[in-house]
């Protein structure tokens, strides 16, 4: 097969750019070239011998251990090449470069002429030439693996699944430990055999290495140090290893992770200067041929060959600046390697040297082996020249910055290790130079983030999506968020959409409510029609449905498609598409008859799990969609609304009925509360609790609304409490005398929250934002004269309540509960 003609006809002004290698460096360099207008300058052709587009190699360990799926790690899927008019010879190995006639030959016979050529062939795992590592005929021995590509990952996973014995990793560096963690998830015994005397000797000192070893052993990974492997045993597949000291170890599979070797042969064969890798100048050009560039792990710059992604992003930028002529003076001066890594779940950061080399070098150190924490800094002339952080890397961002810039350190050394009088975070963000890299997985600088924020992206997700920052290991997300907060604060203009109630309708909540009322919009589709130019935004539908239900109560025109699946089928969707059923058990008080019915239903419908919930009720999990209506009918209990953005439950303690300390009847109150508020739509979940005395056994002080009996026959009402992802003690709204008053103020607060909170804003956020004093003034003292209106609005919603479980099996909703419709042919 021929590629483009060797003698192009016509007068295309574009030159041919060929890239060999479609990995992290190759694809990133092409992206950088495209952002510099490269599409107008070049016809771009790429060779990649892996049968895919470009994926994030550093996430392979997550694929191996099953925390990420293969398709989640693709950075440039095949469509990307098509969209950018790049010819990709996928699965084609580039065999040689004919420098005289300036073309590249592919193994399948492709010939591609070039004006400029980029070599980005990366490296491969180094397989030591041990006895028995291959079969006698030189073919691969079953059970011997390397860990470099997606295919390696698949093969290892398949083999590991089929065996139940032991896997041995040869090499105790970053890669080896990642492989160990991955293989452990297949239920194998995993051991790491390392020639060095401590783990990760490139990044860590002996002390840190030994702490890491202990941590790994606690996780069940065996570690053998100072072991030289001499042979791989087994006739037709791996059965064990032999070491130089004569000892041996039986095993079923071996992973070679003993270093990498640059794929530089193609350079050597075509006469380029190659030492450990292809030797390049400060513009990333081969020192032998100015039309040929090399980038990534196959390039050697000033004697260094880098094996991590951060340096490669810098190289790609310089190369792109130079090849497009955007900045002909761009130069690469080498990278100061500072890395943040997560190895086997242990967070670590390492930069610069590992041991002092000069007697001027000062060491600041902290060790807490029991907790797996270790921190060591090497300082010369008041500047940081090396650091190791293990276990606790909270200071990593700051240290990486001062390391990178060579900033003089504060006299108070302690503050370098811990957050005591350390520079405040704000100042750190502010002082952070624009070129400082924030996301080390995807090479995103603070400058790139601020540019993206300035261009209008304001939420963490939007910024992450646009820049890919935080989409790798995720450890930089909090810094990205801080940068967004920092850049959005102050004079930066705000994106109006953050004030919209839902993204798809350009109105704030008060404006939206006004428009809905004025125009009498009673359904979600009517709102899109009247207020969003007819454009339906699916993500905005549930928020609108909730608001319309709040505004119109019984007059709201229900449209099932506007609701999230949970609220369509009145049950909570599970990871496998089944559902959970939680019947109402107000105050956690039930009866033997009810329990018997639940038990019978669970047996009859073979419910896979019956569980007591944290909300004092019973959850039937793993129910098939088609069984839902029948289960509800057999249960004969009302819905517990455990699936909705709505009032949920009211937990209770036993209270005065039995408890010797009870001073208020908390169970009766809880039951009244539940009957009153069942199913009321709210911006987010509302969970309540009542406690019979200040011992607070039902945890009422940390509920959205909590009620606690206090001496003197009174009830304290707390609002805005939380004890989930966020923990907050509620604020006292008021103290009242009767159950009726509890219901009155709880209802009024609930309606105020319904009308004023953003969609998906829990009360803990809302109460803080609106302020307890303001809320108390409105709800208790009626400072705005709206109390009566709030009361009648929520009463209308209470009156409009119908138990959805009862409706479901009386109403004719033909296909609502079928998960799969059969087709008769």
């Amino acid at each position: 097969m021929m590629g483009k003609s060797l003698f192009p006809q016509g007068c295309s002004m574009k030159r041919n750019l060929v890239v060999i290698g479609n990995g992290m460096a190759g694809a990133r360099t092409v992206e950088e070239i495209l952002t510099r207008g490269g599409a107008d300058l070049f016809n771009i052709t790429m060779f990649g011998d892996e049968p895919y587009g470009n994926y994030n190699r550093i996430l392979l360990s997550s694929v191996l251990n099953g925390t990420q799926q293969e398709q989640e790690i693709f950075l440039n899927p095949i469509e990307w090449y098509r969209e950018n008019k790049i010819t990709l010879h996928v699965g084609v190995y580039a065999e040689s470069i004919l420098r005289k006639s300036r073309c590249v030959l592919g193994a399948d016979g492709t010939i591609e002429p070039y004006d400029k050529l980029i070599i980005a062939t990366g490296s491969r795992s180094h397989v030591p030439s041990l006895e028995g590592v291959t079969m006698d005929d030189g073919s691969d021995k079953p059970g011997v693996f390397v860990f470099r590509t997606l295919d390696d990952c698949r093969e290892m996973a398949e083999y590991a699944r089929g065996s139940r014995g032991r896997a041995v990793i040869i090499g105790g560096g970053l890669l080896g430990l990642e492989a160990a963690r991955g293989l452990q998830s297949y239920g194998l015994q995993v051991d790491v055999v390392h020639r060095g005397l401590h783990l990760m000797n490139q990044q860590l000192d002996p002390q840190a290495g030994s702490i890491l070893k202990t941590t790994m052993e606690q996780m069940g990974v065996g570690v053998l140090l100072g072991k030289n492997t001499t042979a791989v045993l087994g006739e037709d597949r791996v059965t064990g290893l032999r070491f130089a000291d004569g000892s041996g170890l039986a095993c079923d599979m071996v992973v070679m992770a003993a270093g990498i070797k640059a794929n530089a042969e193609i350079g050597r064969r075509s006469g380029l200067q190659v030492q450990r890798a292809i030797v390049v100048d400060n513009q990333m050009r081969s020192v032998t041929d100015p039309n040929i560039y090399a980038v990534g792990e196959c390039a050697q710059h000033r004697g260094h060959v880098y094996g991590l992604v951060a340096p490669l992003w810098e190289q790609a930028k310089v190369l792109a600046d130079h090849i497009t002529g955007r900045d002909p003076s761009a130069a690469y001066h080498g990278s100061k390697v500072a890395t943040k890594l997560k190895v086997m779940g242990v967070e670590m950061a390492a930069m610069g040297i590992v041991e002092p080399v000069d007697e001027r070098d000062e060491i600041v150190q902290f060790t807490e082996p029991k907790r797996g924490t270790y921190k060591k800094l090497i300082i010369r002339d008041g500047r940081l020249i090396g650091a190791i952080l293990l276990g606790d890397i909270s200071k990593a961002a700051y240290l990486m910055q001062v390391f990178d810039r060579g900033t003089p350190l504060p006299e108070e050394r302690l503050s370098l290790l811990f957050d005591i009088g350390a520079p405040a975070k704000k100042i750190t963000i502010e002082e952070m130079p624009a070129e400082m890299q924030v996301c080390n997985c995807n090479g995103v600088t603070k400058g790139a983030l601020t540019a993206c924020i300035k261009a209008g992206k304001r939420s963490l997700n939007a910024v992450m999506e646009a820049t890919r920052a935080g989409m790798g290991c995720g450890s930089c997300k909090s810094i990205v968020n801080e940068i967004i907060e920092f850049a959005c604060g102050g004079e930066v203009e705000e994106d109006p959409s953050i004030h919209f109630y839902v993204p798809g309708v350009p109105l704030s909540k008060p404006d939206l409510i006004r428009a809905v009322k004025e125009q009498g919009l009673r359904s979600v589709s009517a709102v899109f029609g009247a207020l969003a130019g007819g454009k339906e935004d699916p993500a905005s539908k549930p928020g609108l449905a909730s608001l319309l239900n709040t505004i119109w109560a019984g007059e709201y025109v229900k449209e099932r498609d506007a609701r999230f699946i949970n609220e369509r089928v009145h049950a909570n969707i599970q990871k496998d598409g089944t559902f959970s059923v939680v019947p109402q058990i107000p105050g956690g008080v039930t009866t033997p008859a009810e329990l018997r019915r639940i038990a019978e239903v669970a047996e009859k419908f073979r419910v896979p799990m019956v569980k007591l919930t944290g909300g004092q009720r019973i959850d039937l999990l793993g129910v098939k969609k088609e069984d839902l209506p029948d289960i509800w009918r057999d249960l004969g209990m009302p819905s517990g609304h455990a699936y909705g953005k709505s009032y949920r439950t009211c937990k209770s303690c036993v209270g005065t009925d039995f408890c010797r300390f009870g001073i208020g009847d908390s169970t009766t109150l809880a039951i009244k509360i539940e009957r009153n508020f069942q199913g009321i739509d709210t911006p987010h979940k509302v969970k309540m609790a009542t406690a019979g005395c200040p011992r607070n056994c039902s945890e009422a002080m940390v509920k959205d609304i909590g009620v606690v009996a206090v001496e003197g026959g009174k009830w304290e009402i707390y609002i805005g409490g939380a004890a989930g992802a966020h923990v907050r003690k509620g604020d006292i709204l008021c103290v009242v005398d009767t159950h009726e008053d509890v219901l009155k103020y709880a209802a009024r607060f609930m309606q105020y929250y319904r009308e004023n909170a953003k969609y998906l804003e829990r009360t803990y956020g809302f109460v803080e934002r609106a302020g307890i004093d303001k809320i108390r003034a409105v709800v208790v003292d009626d400072s705005e004269g709206i109390a009566a209106k709030l009361d009648s609005a929520i009463q209308a919603s209470i009156n409009a309540y119908r138990d959805p479980w009862k409706e479901a099996y009386t109403a004719a909703r033909a296909t609502e509960f079928s998960s799969l419709l059969p087709v008769i042919q």
Binding site: A539, G577, L820
Partner: protein, 110 residues
């Protein structure tokens, strides 16, 4: 290789309420059919490529569906995920004069 087509009648349009989707099992394949409020019909593979979420249970608007499990978004007409990472298989679905849903599947000739 040329391809012929196979037409399969799924049943009346009323199986799918406006703005929703339903999954069908056809010759061992699971296919989701969507009917938008604007009256357009779409058909795609039924299982989300992320973690097999039931796409027919997702929220639909314009020509987008949002998977109910982790919120991945797909364009129903092209099958493309946003942001681009993978693509759903799409099929052609139409309506007869009698309001019957008809799915057209390509059948490769032996």
């Amino acid at each position: 290789m040329t391809a012929t087509e196979m037409k399969i009648t799924l049943g009346p349009l009323s199986l799918i309420p406006p703005g929703e989707g339903r999954s069908f099992e056809i010759a061992g394949e699971r296919i989701a059919v969507f009917r938008t409020r604007g009256g357009r019909l779409f058909a795609t593979q039924a299982d989300c490529p992320h973690r097999n979420g039931p796409l027919a249970d997702g929220l639909v608007g314009g020509s987008t569906v949002i998977c109910p499990l982790h919120g991945w978004k797909f364009d129903l007409s092209t099958g493309a995920a946003a942001p681009a990472s993978c693509t759903l298989k799409t099929y052609s679905v139409s309506l007869t004069d009698q309001e019957q849903l008809v799915l057209t599947l390509p059948v490769p000739e032996p």
